[in-house]
Symmetry: D2
């Protein structure tokens, strides 16, 4: 029985609590938040869960094995480090931290204390994303040319992080997982229309080796909710539309055929192929449930989480590069590889 | 009766010919193309139209009043200038020319000979785009925050121009028309996956005064045909989806309300409004027909075309800036205003 | 504090329990079901709720004020009557009963004991259905010509009732509410392809006064989930598509104009009008929550539920007529009015 | 070179003319219509085509080999018979005639003169319908349970035929082709809301051997254009949505599994299977072009058209049965088989 404390039950926290409550091998023990009203609501839903306004009562509770943190980003590092230092395994919401230094500190602390540190990049546990990964790895799409992502909707506006940290973090995590590479450079253009100090719309470009590119469009100011990724390969193309209730992944047998060899000064013709579309069946399972089960598994087995601290840090590196690019009007910012260093 | 000659009947030319054939006040007289098979096809469809492989037979024909040019971009300038110097009015397909210098030469020649020079920016004659313009001008949307455009599909690959010149030229022309401004700077990131010397996917950003921004995504390598513009304003938001058969424009009564005055260090809350959606009825008329009728009107009345040479030149300026940006890996390129100069 | 017992926690019961648990003025006290595993699941979710395999422990419990019944249809009458005779208010799932006689007995018992009897016609509490009703009552659509309903999906197969009792009961309840009339006659054609004794696909027609007609298509064997109602009026047309996440109601300003007077032997022309489409904002609230709150309100205030026993009986009358029509290969079956009798 | 005359150039005739003009092995010679304005329009589009207001000039012209008839239904028989008696092959629009007797007379006349008589059931030449037929014939769907058709839109109101003759004729022709059977009985319920003597909305049911059923919904009063057929089989399900630009056919690997043998009084459970969806590529070809090419082929080769007179007569039989059913309020009307008789 893993005994859990949750810090933060604002927007996302209640989903974490609900999932832990429903897991047989978990005891959902205590919840901390500064908002008493929110705590009362949790108490009403789950009378057996204890509540407190003091997070210290969680990080120091000897009856708690693991802590889930769903608070504003700038508090992640302090809470995670304190919990780790008190011998708790830590699950922290994404983005892991607001800067590389904080993320590195978290990774180091977990390493030192030999505890689990897992980051809530939920989409990496989404059955549709897993299916995409499987399709790409099978070679069905051929070589990847580019990935185009859109994540748009009408806010919730954040006050401490901009739209890139809030929304693009999902796409970055998925793109890095799909490609199994880090980008060499990042460019991002963002503007703010509501709160002058927080960008609410941005377009971010990640450049990888082999001419692979990822475009990530994010907005808190779009009338429609869009969550879409298009993966264009040399053989086939794939669209993942997360808004669709059932038909989430479409595999298009479409492509352009380039003549084997041609004289660029002479005449040649492209040919196109168009074939059937396949919509594979995707199991309908709550990604957060899969993610939190994985966290419990890793604690029980001592195995390394798919989205461990290094995984989360890798995303923060790209986010920080994007932030710097925005600040300088969209210039190229190089990302140094973390792979050798941490893996 | 305006007597017309058409040069070029490859991909788009036949549509121009068909429209001129069906206009009562026009005599569709002669067509030139290097491809004899294509000419035979035209002859078969319209037995009364003359055909020739020598464009000179059109530009020098004293029985022809106006010439429509639908040939590859790099030939536009030479053909248009020759036609103008022979006293013909000229309609030239978009983009007007492959560089600013050529476009300027065309404008100058038309001015000198006091002849019409009109550019085929068809979307500016599209009933849905006209409706968008009307809605924006009425103030319904409030201040424009940003415009997001997507123009994606599989091919047709061009050999002499890249995806920006081919596809983004439409969005640029519409955005400039809607905003009635030119951008201060342009950034564009493009990559080529099929033909190494021609970009087939690109994302272009136009920055205007007052923090207005336009994002233009273009691809020749997307499995789905997308033609979409989202206009986000301070009061309402609008989506124009040209793929929809009937419901092309959606006006969303959605927005974020910022507190009148607030202390950025203190606490404040955004509020959101969500209201009805209105889908205005759009007249179903072929935009090319409206465009070519306008060309004939302008010849008959001596009035200036909506998409005259200066309008076309303005678009070329942005395209050339985007081209330069791509060549330098996405750097900012400033566009100097043409307004004072030419209008 | 109203103290609630729930009988039946199979497919729909858990939703009722969840809602009652979350209502502050309700004590969700006890749940009965024959399936122990199901009871354990409820116990795990809501440790404070008592469970039992004997429904008698609910209907005779003096600490229980009201009973909600979510069991197979053929048990409704017995359970409801027993609960009423023990002085409990009763909420019973739809359809209220498997035949008119049972429904009548339930209504009579509730009347005799002066207790609430409410039927779970949830859609009558759905914000979109309420909005439709409001639009129709405002006269916006003009005279109603016909209503076309589709309720299709793959399974879940029922064993004791056919697709008409299962699915069409929703449409019948909504249509009667919208029109505020009962049909004069009912025709239904149904066939069974999986279980030979239970129809799994059916088309049912309700004929009302004034040439108003309602078509109801139902299937347990359709690959797509469809929940759609089209209301065609003399002035405007309305589509309610419950599958849409947000845009559920579309009001079309479309219609046919008939010449004021015409000679049927001579020449005349219809004209059509096409105008804007309006998609009114619908509040996003769980209909079951509204329904159960209304039940509690009615108990507290002694007011009559919108979907009281007579309302439920009216639907059963149409269902029984449909059943008889199916049995005779689709013949017309007359429905005698219940209005004068019961109201 | 087959020389063609066309009688009727109102709504559909111009499409026939356009196709014949574009076929190399055909000479589109003469067009007759009572409407001079319409003739002038044709003359303007195709200056080499002769026009006349007297259809006799077509049926008696020795320079004409075949006549296409696109006039109101009640004139079909007289025009077709006259043309056949003058030695012309005949292509007649659907429905072939307004009653069985007329259709039979047409078939007899063609037989007697050994001339082609083909009916314009265009959908039987549609690439998507051909693909459906191929899929069904391959056994992929298993046994067919039922076919559900919807053909809805706003207008165009006909004055001489009702919505069943106008719209359901398409579905009937396709259903008979797919199943290769005639129905045993037909039920149809129709009502008229605009012109009291012409039904504008109807639901028609066709019952075949082996418990196969087809539902056909038709309306001239629906705000949306719907053209949809769902074919439910014991193994898979197929949806053909003709409104989709590209993805017209969806094959769903969905179904219900019935236990091999079960005791209906005991307990048993259905199981469901859900698999991938396949959207086969459909060639994008104008069905009318395929149809008219087939007509010319049959004249040249002396082969029997797919939609010959007997095919057209079979559809008229079902239509006449539906008509009689509507007149009697939806009663069952038996259709006697024509197969043995004519084939």
């Amino acid at each position: 029985m893993i005994r859990i404390g949750v810090i933060g039950c604002g927007y996302w926290g209640p989903n974490i609590i609900r999932n832990f409550v429903q897991m047989p091998r978990v005891e959902m023990r205590k919840v901390a938040d500064l908002n008493v009203e929110q705590l009362n609501h949790i108490k009403c839903l789950y009378p057996t869960v204890e509540t407190t306004i003091d997070y210290k009562e969680i990080v120091t509770d000897p009856e708690i094995d693991a802590v889930a943190i769903a608070t504003p980003v700038h508090t992640h590092k302090r809470l995670a480090v304190e919990a780790l230092e008190n011998g708790k395994h830590v699950f922290v919401e994404k983005p892991m931290a607001g800067c590389i230094a904080d993320a590195e500190a978290m990774v180091e602390t977990a390493k030192k204390h030999e505890l689990q540190l897992m980051v809530g990049h939920t989409f990496e546990y989404h059955a549709a994303v897993r299916k995409m990964k499987e399709i790409i790895d099978s070679g069905l799409l051929g070589d990847i040319y580019y990935i185009n992502c859109q994540r748009l909707n009408l806010g919730i506006f954040q006050k401490d992080i901009n739209v890139v940290w809030d929304l693009a973090s999902h796409d970055i995590s998925v793109v890095l997982m799909l490609l199994e590479k880090e980008p060499n450079q990042v460019m991002s253009i963002g503007t703010s229309h509501i709160n002058p100090s927080v960008e609410d719309v941005a377009t971010t470009t990640l450049e990888f080796n082999n001419n692979i590119i990822a475009f990530i469009q994010t907005s808190w100011l779009d009338p429609n909710k869009v969550r879409k990724m298009t993966v264009v390969g040399s053989k086939k193309m794939l669209v993942y539309d997360d808004i669709q209730a059932n038909e989430k992944i479409w595999i298009y047998d479409k492509g352009v055929e380039v003549p084997e060899r041609y004289d660029t000064f002479g005449e040649f013709n492209y040919s196109y192929h168009y074939g059937d579309i396949i919509i594979p069946r995707i199991e309908n399972k709550e990604p957060l449930r899969s993610e939190l089960s994985h966290f419990i598994d890793c604690i029980e087995n001592g195995s390394r989480p798919i989205t461990d601290g290094n995984n989360g840090l890798r995303v923060v590196k790209v986010l920080e590069a994007a932030q710097r690019s925005i600040a300088q009007g969209g210039v190229n910012v190089r990302v140094n590889s973390l792979f050798e260093h941490y893996n």
